[in-house]
Symmetry: C2
Subunit: 320 residues, 2 copies
C-alpha cells in the first residue's frame, strides 16, 4: 500500500492516529522536503517515530523517475510519503497518486488540517471565501499580478480571499546555477508586510480600487494551529506596514483580504486580533522592554477601534 | 483550559495525537451530537478513550446557558468539546469560544481535516473553488434557492462549487412539536440524486442556464477519508439521477459542481471516478449479483467517455 499522510499544521503531534499507524507499518517513509524545512525537524520526527526518514524534494515527488523510486515495491509492502498539511492542500499530490494507480499499486490518503480549512481560526467563515490566490516574491523585472484579478472577482462577490505567501526553498543563486553547483540559498519566506506592500504596489499600477490601505481590512495568520506560536492579527492594510515583521512570528504566514459580505460576528470575533495588531503598531520602533503597559493598552484599544470603524463605515456592518 | 477538538472525517483513529492528549487530560469531555450521530459511535469512542462522553446538542453549544454548563470550571481544569471535522469547518464554534474568552477561560483549538479541504480528494484543485453553498431539503412550500445565485457567481468565474447536503437531526413531527413531546424523527440525510434533482428543479424555475443535466459535470463525494467506505463518483448531472441512491454508500455526502476553469489533470484524475459512476449507471435496475463483468466494464468505459466528452466539448479542455 502507498500512503500519503498529511502531517497537519505544526509539529509531530498533529499527525492522526491512523497516520501514525501507517508510518509504523511502513518499510520506507519519505518526508517531503518542504515539510521538514518549514514545520517540524526531521530528527525530531525520526526520534518520535523511531524510524529513519528519507527526504523527498518536490522534483522527486513530481518527476516520473523520482516517484517510481518512491513507489518501488509498494505493491508488496507499505510505503508512506509524509506531507505538510493535507495531501490535497495548497500543493497537491495527484501526480504521484495517478502514477501509483497506473502501476497497479493500491493507495490511501490520510487527511489532516491544512491552511485551506484552518484559516477558519481567523473567525472568518469558510463559506464566504472565494478562490485562493498565491503571491510570489516580486523582482525588479517580474511582478506577476494575476492574483489581483482574482481578488477583484472575490471582492465583487463580497467574498474573502486567502492569500498564500511565497516560500523559496532550494533556490540557487544565478552564479551557482550557471556553474551547475548544487549550492542552495537559505530558505526565504515572504513576510506579511512584504505581502501587503506588493499588493498595494499592484493596486497603484492597476488602479481599479480593489485594495485600499485604509479601507481594506485584512487578517494575517501565522503558524495557525501552533500551540504556543500561533499569531493572528487583524486591521486595515496600512497597519500591517507599520509593524516590525518579527511581530508575526516564525513562518508560515498567510493573509486574508476581507470581503464586503463581512458579518457582525466575524467582526466581533476579530476584535481580539485587531487588539493584537494595534498593540504591535504601538510598539513599532520602540524598545519593547521599556514600553509601558499603558502604551500597550492604548495600542490595543486603538486597534480595536480602527477595526470596528472600518467594518462599520466601509463594510456597512451594523455594530452596537 | 477549554479545548475544541476536531475529530476529522470518519472514525476514532482520525483524531490527532495532540487531540487525544487533550481528551485524556480532561475532566469532562463533551461530544457534539451531530458528530456522534453521523460518523462515529459514542460507545466506540468511549471505549477507545476509556472515558465517558457527555452528549452536547447544537442548542446546548450555541445557547448561553448551555455553553456556560460546558465551560464550568474550565478555568481550573481541562474540559474538551469534540466536534466532527474541524472546529472551524462547515459549522463553526466561534460563539462558545467568544463566550469562554469573555469568561476569562483560556482556549485552544485542535485542528483536523474537514470536508472544506478534504474535498480535494475529488482531484479538483482547492484553489479553484469559489464559495461553498448549502442545500436544504425542499418541502412543497419552501424551496430556498439562494444557492443558485452563488453557484452562478462561481460558475461565471469558472470556479468549482462545493455543495453541502442537508442533514436533519433531532427533528420533531408537527404533532409532537405542537404537543411538546420530545420525540424525535430518525435522522435524515439528503442523497446525491435528491440533491441533483433539487438543483435541476431550481434551474428549471430560474432558467438562467447555470446547470444543465448533460453539460454540467459534477463529482459526488461520500464519506471522504473513510478508509473502506469512501465513494467518489463523477459525471454529468443526469448520470447521478440514473443510479440507485445506495450506490453512494452511507452518509455523509457532498457534491461538487465543476467550474469551467477545469484543468486537464483534473479531468485525468477524475476518470476513475467517472468509471465508477458509469458502472453504477450500468447496474441501475438490475439484479447486481447477476450482472456480468462485461456489462460492468462497458459501463465503466461509457462513464469515462461521457466525462471526457463533456470536458472536451463543453469545458473546452484539451485532451489527447
Amino acid at each position: 500500500m502507498f500512503y500519503i499522510i498529511g502531517l497537519g499544521l505544526c509539529d509531530e503531534k498533529d499527525i492522526t492516529l491512523r497516520g501514525l499507524e501507517a508510518v509504523k507499518s511502513s518499510s520506507r517513509v519519505y518526508l517531503e522536503a518542504y515539510t521538514s524545512i518549514l514545520m517540524v525537524q526531521k530528527d525530531r520526527l525520526e526520534s518520535f517515530y523511531g524510524k529513519e526518514l528519507i527526504i523527498a524534494d518536490r522534483d522527486m515527488v513530481e518527476s516520473e523517475s523520482g516517484s517510481d523510486g518512491i513507489l518501488k515495491d509498494a505493491d508488496k509492502e507499505d510505503v508512506s510519503l509524509l506531507v505538510v498539511g493535507d495531501p490535497f492542500g495548497a500543493t497537491t499530490h495527484t501526480d504521484i497518486l495517478l502514477r501509483a494507480r497506473n502501476l497497479g499499486i493500491p493507495t490511501r490518503v490520510i487527511h489532516n488540517a491544512s491552511i485551506m480549512n484552518a484559516v477558519g481560526a481567523s473567525g472568518l467563515q469558510l463559506y464566504n471565501f472565494g478562490q485562493t490566490v498565491s503571491l510570489v516574491f516580486f523582482t525588479e523585472t517580474w511582478k506577476p499580478d494575476s492574483f489581483y484579478d482574482r481578488i477583484k472577482e472575490n471582492a465583487d462577490g463580497g467574498l474573502h480571499t486567502l492569500v498564500l505567501l511565497d516560500i523559496k526553498v532550494k533556490e540557487q543563486s544565478e552564479e551557482n546555477l550557471a556553474r551547475g553547483r548544487k549550492i542552495y540559498e537559505p530558505p526565504r519566506y515572504m513576510t506579511v508586510p512584504q505581502a501587503v506592500s506588493q499588493l498595494l504596489e499592484i493596486e497603484s499600477l492597476r488602479g481599479e480600487g480593489v485594495l485600499d490601505p485604509e479601507k481594506t481590512l485584512a487578517v494575517a495568520v501565522g503558524r495557525v494551529g501552533g500551540f504556543d506560536s500561533e499569531r493572528i492579527l487583524a486591521g486595515p492594510l496600512s497597519s500591517f506596514l507599520r509593524v516590525n515583521p518579527s511581530e508575526f512570528g516564525p513562518p508560515l504566514h498567510s493573509l486574508v483580504i476581507v470581503g464586503k459580505r463581512l458579518h457582525h460576528l466575524e467582526v466581533e470575533y476579530g476584535e481580539m486580533f485587531a487588539e493584537k495588531l494595534g498593540e504591535a503598531v504601538s510598539l513599532a520602533g520602540l524598545d519593547t522592554e521599556a514600553v509601558s503597559e499603558e502604551t500597550r493598552q492604548s495600542g490595543r484599544r486603538e486597534g480595536r477601534e480602527r477595526w470596528r470603524k472600518v467594518a462599520r463605515e466601509v463594510y456597512s456592518v451594523a455594530l452596537d
